[in-house]
Symmetry: C2
Subunit: 494 residues, 2 copies
């Protein structure tokens, strides 16, 4: 599909508000050529910045402070593609070219779209990415499907455009083939949309929003088979798929209760190779099935580098990327150049260790992926620590809760096994349990707070979400898990 | 006015879209207390960031690379209020508290509002600030007044909300009492709104957008007397004033043709004191007249530190700030923590030189203001260089152009003195002149491109805007000015 075909095909998905957005610029946006004296743009000379250099002190792996790497960002020389004179100047709204190229490389190497005219737009964190996507595609006439449990702030991104959210039932199970969106439910819903009492006042959905791997809050991952089925449904009913994937690199090997601390990432005898990680541990994006250019993928540096950078990127067909860029022009413009330069210089430093590769782009890619593996190893270790801690409690042994074992990501869900019938008022039951937990000294998130439609999901919302990400060390995580179990025991004991 | 009164008073200014915005959060947003194990928010532990320290190499003044200051941002210790563990973590949507406090301090010391319930919201550069302000206040029913020449991208910020822009005539003169918005025109327009053929289909304006000091593109500054008159008009006609002030710190003392390189900022015998700068050189914001809490002021670190930081702040009454914050919650969330930490650590470093002050907040404020003075001195020097270069050309001596002397900011406007009548087609005349200039090797911006309504301002748009900000050294600026003059000579010679 060339650009014109993409425009013809996808214009109908644009929101009413997209039409009204006509950025005005009075400059060419071209960088000055050598002979031309450019007195045009109101850009301060870089020697008017109070800063002329930035050194980054990097660590080799999470939680290790041994030998450190120092890498410098100087006014003109380092990194040569993105020194301070560029990074702290006004820069390209779509992201600085070297950074965009690096993001494209990640996509190409791992999730290469099956069509040609795709592109990347950098953005200010996934919240900003989502705002831009929904603002460009949704208005009062739109209906958006999403997992019944989700990162609930995204609901407000959708509803603030005037659009409506409709939840999809999920299979909450550790079975990797079954977990995640209930595809049959989704099929029935779409096939019979106009006959369904509850939704007939809404237009047929035009978007599916899904957190595909290590879903927040459930930790579920859509299998490739499910991805193929969902993609076929999207084709049949002409849906755009917004694939949010902040946790995709943090996949967990299966947990072995016989050997709870086993970690295939760091196995001393047979550590995982980078190819195994790329080929076997990472789940391919919907992009790899996307013959129609209907997938919008969201990635972020928040979990893989640091959330405070507010740096993310969006992958979609070139026409949609242009519409998103059009919105960026009148809102954020470029993401922070400081954030971009920090990530870029870090990746360049990681590249220096990858001496096995000839090409600098390969070195950067593999250097970054090696870091991703180290993070995945850390999360896997913490998953192990948390599971072990939960499974050794009396409350678990007394069957007062079960653990919804996550396949990736930062979250573990503890499902309460109500001793008799499920509570008639799940919300207030969870609120009461929460009070007990806070008294025990642990703070978690209650399942119903993560439901798109609390009524729709009330029966299945009897769980607690907690994260393995933030604890300062294993002992704190263990203590937190024990407090959760003890709190449940105390609460259900009443 | 307490919060309730502000809400009662200013709710009617909110856009239709503001109403639909209901952010959903499932977390408390409280930082974990000492005894509570917080397994709630999906925050990676700071030891999972690949970075543990950042050193900044600072310069003491623009274009000087002598002894440098090195200042460190470490994982936990420095700066104690904003180390990496905080700055690169998810942080407060309104901006990190120490940074917000510093911005508040700037406002309090220079432009203290005359009412009590004002607040500050940090944002991702002034483009983002403007988007948030107009998106929150404007919709299809709104009319916005602005200077007839302006930073034209702001027009698209307004029109993309559905609102209409109406230009205000300006006095383009070097007389400090007269320059800027034609207040009589504005008064007539507002008093007779419903009788004016051209505008009667529009609602009466509810907003004035103005770049108050060193206006872009004209370099004009509104005198205090004009500010008082405009504020009274805003009261009479109930307008919100959006005061954009990116250049306010860069004020120019009058130019002395007898002594073109004179620079009162750096006069060796009698250098300007910090109090003189604050009391005499800076023009007070509309905030200082704002008995009604109707002013929204926009400041940015783009010109004072570096544009690539994408860091700005908005000052307004607490009710309006809350509505803007509400929008930030579903869009950008916090600005880059890397950018915030870089500015904050820099200001802390600048503070160490201010040993005359007891209080750390005073040291930070005066340290920052001393930097602002150094920048203003640099801009004044460049203004001098450019004026001298322009005034020594034959084209100037032959009265082919005049210079609209700016009172502040980054821009100088060269007004073409058309030898006979003004061109009937100003746009194509300027386009032709532009071609000659590019051939001469200099790039400027054409006046008509900066008009809100090209037809309305066609007669007065026969000028070229150029910046003194970007040239790499004085000689390049001089050469650029000569090329402009030679180009005009060649073009008008035909």
């Amino acid at each position: 599909m060339d650009y014109e075909s993409l425009r013809d095909r996808y214009s109908r998905f644009l929101s009413r508000r997209d039409e009204g957005r006509k950025p005005i610029t009075f400059w060419d946006g071209e960088l000055p050529s050598k002979d031309l004296i450019c007195l045009e743009a109101g850009m301060p000379n870089e020697k008017m910045f109070p800063i002329k250099g930035i050194d980054l002190h990097l660590v080799e792996r999470p939680f290790e402070d041994g030998d450190e790497d120092k890498v410098s960002i100087t006014r003109y020389e380092e990194p040569v593609e993105m020194p301070i004179a560029r990074a702290l100047q006004y820069s390209e709204v779509r992201g600085m070219q070297p950074m965009v190229n690096f993001c494209k490389r990640i996509v190409e190497m791992i999730n290469k779209p099956v069509y040609e005219h795709w592109d990347v737009l950098m953005s200010n964190g996934s919240s900003d990415s989502m705002f831009k996507v929904f603002e460009t595609l949704c208005d009062e006439s739109s209906t958006v499907l999403m997992e019944e449990f989700t990162f609930s702030p995204v609901v407000s991104n959708v509803t603030s455009t005037g659009a409506n959210c409709v939840p999809l039932k999920m299979h909450l199970t550790t079975d990797p083939r079954e977990q995640g969106i209930d595809v049959e439910y989704m099929e029935q819903l779409l096939d019979n949309w106009h006959e369904i009492e509850e939704y007939r006042h809404l237009n047929k959905p035009k978007l599916l929003y899904t957190i595909v791997t290590g879903q927040n809050p459930t930790g579920m991952t859509l299998s490739m088979e499910k991805r193929r089925q969902i993609y076929r449904l999207a084709q049949k009913h002409d849906l755009i798929i917004v694939e949010d994937d902040p946790y995709g690199y943090l996949t967990f090997p299966p947990y072995d209760p016989e050997n709870p601390m086993k970690n295939v990432y760091t196995d001393t005898e047979n550590p995982m190779s980078i190819d195994e990680y790329l080929q076997q541990r990472l789940i391919k994006s919907f992009l790899t099935l996307d013959t129609d250019a209907r997938v919008i993928r969201l990635e972020t540096f928040s979990k893989m580098y640091a959330p405070g950078l507010r740096l993310s990127f969006i992958i979609a067909n070139k026409f949609i990327i242009d519409r998103l860029l059009n919105l960026s022009e009148i809102t954020t413009r470029a993401p922070s150049g400081a954030s971009q330069a920090i990530v870029y210089a870090t990746v360049k430093a990681m590249a220096t260790r990858e001496t096995a590769y000839q090409d600098e782009n390969d070195r950067m890619f593999y250097g970054w992926i090696r870091w991703a593996m180290k993070l995945a190893a850390t999360y896997t270790h913490r998953r192990n620590v948390a599971f072990k801690a939960l499974y050794e409690t009396d409350a678990y042994k007394n069957h007062l809760f079960s653990v919804l074992e996550p396949s990736a990501g930062m979250f573990i869900n503890v499902k309460i096994n109500w001793p008799h019938a499920k509570p008639t008022d799940m919300k207030s039951s969870l609120d009461q349990l929460d009070k007990v937990l806070v008294n025990k000294g642990v703070k978690v998130v209650l399942g119903y707070k993560l439901a798109v439609d609390q009524k729709f999901s009330m029966d299945s919302s009897g769980f607690l979400r907690f994260t393995v990400a933030y604890a300062s060390h294993d002992d704190q995580l263990i203590e937190g898990c024990h407090r959760i179990a003890n709190g449940i025991q105390e609460y259900l004991g009443h």
